[in-house]
């Protein structure tokens, strides 16, 4: 039984429920002697039943006062969705507009565009478990995989706060992988990288990432928020310029493609294009997922109140059945008052 009490100290009152065993709520009536009456099974049963009803009435009231509830439980359901890790760039340049300026007036920074659209994404993905990681100079675990929508939204809301210095994609990715790995074993896993730039991943870390991506099967999406004038992912290199240092975005893309995992990059240059990309990811990532849903905790007090009320009503009924011996209307001596003085 998974029931617990909110106010367990009330249970100390439970011995009071034994009161009806020793005392009766019925009237005492003077009767010369009970010795002369024959043993009557029916009367005995009735008298025991009345005492038991009294025990139930008091006991159930005390149990209800102790605040019984059933703990929240989990059920497994099958839906459409994935375990998604949002890996978000929090470098300082994210606070600039797509034109590479500080936002003024009605302009929107890349971070606020990302925030707005990721909010929609989170709200649409009903059955996803979503985790959030941020990276700039160092990777940061913001929120482990969770199904609490409001917590994820609170973490997404924080992304347009002032960011930090650098963009260390490599270590951010390894944190996202570690987070994905902790998820359910059979779920479809998604890492959604949102950044406005890339950096050179050092070869040692590249090897580790390669091993990691081979072990944890994830689908990788890269939402590249391209600033006007920056080099893009798909731009053809000028001769002699094709090095990871000169074109980190292009080489990160090449690295991702070489991993042999489902991967898609979206290069977006405006807030609308971001929305298109998110919509496409939403469409692509619709696999059956076994997700767990929480049944909220259940209050059991009402059941006990009903029981206590019913028992008390029965006691009242018994009370109404009492007869006065003095009126002489007794056809059959109900021994409700058997503990009356002899």
């Amino acid at each position: 039984m998974n029931a617990i009490f909110a106010q367990p100290q009330m249970l100390w009152l439970l011995p009071l429920a034994a009161l009806p065993i020793f005392l009766s709520a019925s009237r005492r009536q003077a009767y010369p002697s009970l010795e002369g009456l024959p043993e009557d099974l029916f009367s005995r049963i009735v008298s025991l039943a009345v005492a038991a009803t009294g025990i139930i009435a008091i006991g159930a009231t005390i149990l209800a006062l102790a605040g019984p509830y059933r703990r929240g439980q989990w059920t497994e359901r099958v839906g459409q969705g994935a375990e998604t890790v949002l890996l978000i760039d929090r470098s300082g340049s994210m606070n600039e507009t797509f034109a590479g300026r500080q936002p003024t007036g009605g302009e929107e920074s890349k971070a606020s565009a990302a925030r707005r659209i990721l909010r929609d994404f989170v709200l649409q993905r009903e059955h996803d478990r979503i985790g959030v990681a941020a990276f700039s100079s160092a990777p940061m675990l913001v929120l482990p995989l969770t199904d609490r929508r409001d917590a994820v939204l609170a973490a997404v809301d924080a992304i347009d706060r002032p960011g930090l210095a650098k963009t260390d994609v490599g270590r951010g990715l390894s944190m996202a992988l570690a987070m994905s790995e902790e998820g359910a074993p059979l779920a479809s896993r998604v890492v959604l990288l949102v950044s406005d730039g890339a950096a050179v991943i050092d070869p040692r870390l590249q090897n580790k990432l390669r091993a990691g991506f081979a072990r944890v099967r994830v689908n990788l999406y890269w939402l590249f928020l391209r600033t006007a004038g920056d080099r893009g992912i798909f731009e053809a290199p000028e001769p002699g310029q094709d090095t990871p240092q000169a074109m980190p975005e292009r080489h990160l893309d090449i690295f991702f493609k070489s991993l042999g995992i489902p991967y898609k990059a979206f290069e977006v240059e405006s807030p609308d294009a971001v929305r298109e990309a998110v919509r496409e990811i939403d469409r692509l990532e619709n696999h059956p997922i076994v997700y767990r849903e929480r049944i909220p905790r259940q209050d059991l007090a009402a059941t006990f109140y009903a029981l206590a009320g019913l028992a008390t009503a029965l006691l009242l009924g018994a009370k109404l059945c009492e007869v006065s011996l003095r009126k002489g209307v007794v056809e059959r001596p109900l021994r409700l008052a058997r503990r009356g003085p002899a």
Binding site: T61, L143, A154, L164, A302, A306, G309, L316
Partner: protein, 337 residues
């Protein structure tokens, strides 16, 4: 047959007592759901994750633990004991910036997730080695004002590099606009600060020459003229290498108290979760939040009293009457019918 019989029952006070009990019990189903105004908690917690927070000078369950571990454990316990609904946001401080991880969110609904984030707090999240506590605090105050929450700033007050002789940056915001706490973490005695290599492995402690002992930016202190080797142009800070105890760490209480004074926050030394929660409630802005008020226990308590009276009162009175004589306990309702 019942009608004439029940007339006698109707004259029995216990019948009415039981009726009252039954009515009260059934009233629990009709009880309106009232809300009363409680005092809610809405707090932004910023945790210092700089190197000095790795100092193991505090105890956790009787074992030596790092300051950061103590903060994490206190926060975990405090979260569980906050009255619902409570909103909690989390950020980390390093270098001179407070970095918001998530905005305040209802703890009661998202406890598991928040607990996971707390467990993941680590000095490795720090983006720079510096620790400009005052700057971080000022930015945290701005942030708390933005998200309209109270602030709890957990730090040991260890500035690295040490603030210049002319004093640290001044607070330019409105004093007292944001309420809250500065929680001083750590012991009062100096302890060594663990040192880590590039891969995050501990490789000993900081020595005197590993850290800047004196901030030699800005004008020199007043007493510099008396120092050995002083030269106004070539050696305004004196001719000696600075020595000091900046490579050791203790909770800098006077400094934190002065910051608290300047910003209008309160200062407390961190010991355990209950005292933190109490201090938070004491200093936080009153935030009226609707709290559900369950009327049923009140009704049921009445019903229980009546039920017990129905069984116990008459015999008890009878016993007293037998003992002390009928007169003193003559009670008209319980006269025999």
């Amino acid at each position: 047959m019942i009608a004439p019989a029940s007339r006698g029952s109707l004259r029995d006070p216990r019948f009415w007592v039981l009726t009252g009990a039954a009515l009260l019990l059934f009233a629990t189903f009709a009880a309106p759901s009232l809300t009363r105004t409680g005092n809610g908690v809405d707090v932004l917690v910023i945790v210092d994750i700089t190197g000095s927070m790795n100092v193991r000078d505090v105890k956790l369950a009787g074992r030596p633990a790092s300051r950061l571990d103590l903060v994490k454990s206190v926060l975990r316990e405090a979260l569980a004991s906050l009255p619902c609904p409570a909103r909690f946001g989390l950020g980390v401080f390093s270098e001179r910036q407070s970095f918001l991880l998530f905005e305040p969110v209802d703890v009661c609904a998202a406890f598991d997730a928040i607990e996971g984030t707390l467990a993941g707090l680590d000095w490795r999240m720090g983006w720079e080695g510096d620790s400009h506590v005052a700057m971080g605090l000022y930015r945290a105050i701005d942030m708390a004002r933005d998200v309209k929450a109270d602030l709890a700033f957990f730090t040991d007050g260890h500035e690295a590099p040490p603030p210049p002789a002319s004093g640290g940056p001044a607070f330019e915001g409105e004093r007292g606009a944001v309420k809250g706490l500065i929680m001083g973490v750590g012991e009062y005695a100096l302890s060594p600060i663990p040192k880590f290599d590039d891969d995050g492995r501990e490789i000993g402690f900081y020595g005197m020459n590993d850290v800047l002992q004196e901030n030699r930016f800005g004008p020199p202190p007043k007493d510099a003229e008396g120092r050995e080797g002083y030269n106004p142009r070539n050696a305004p800070f004196g001719g000696q290498v600075a020595t000091g105890s900046e490579h050791l760490s203790s909770v800098r209480e006077p400094y934190l108290k002065s910051l608290a004074e300047a910003t209008g926050l309160a200062y407390r030394h961190l010991s355990d979760a209950p005292s933190f929660v109490a201090a938070l409630k004491e200093t936080a802005k009153p935030r009226p939040v609707p709290v559900a008020l369950d009327l049923r226990p009140f009704l049921a308590s009445g019903a229980l009293a009546l039920l017990l009276a129905a069984y116990g009162l008459a015999p008890a009175l009878a016993a007293l009457r037998r003992r002390f004589g009928a007169k003193s306990f003559a009670f008209p309702f319980f006269r025999r019918t």
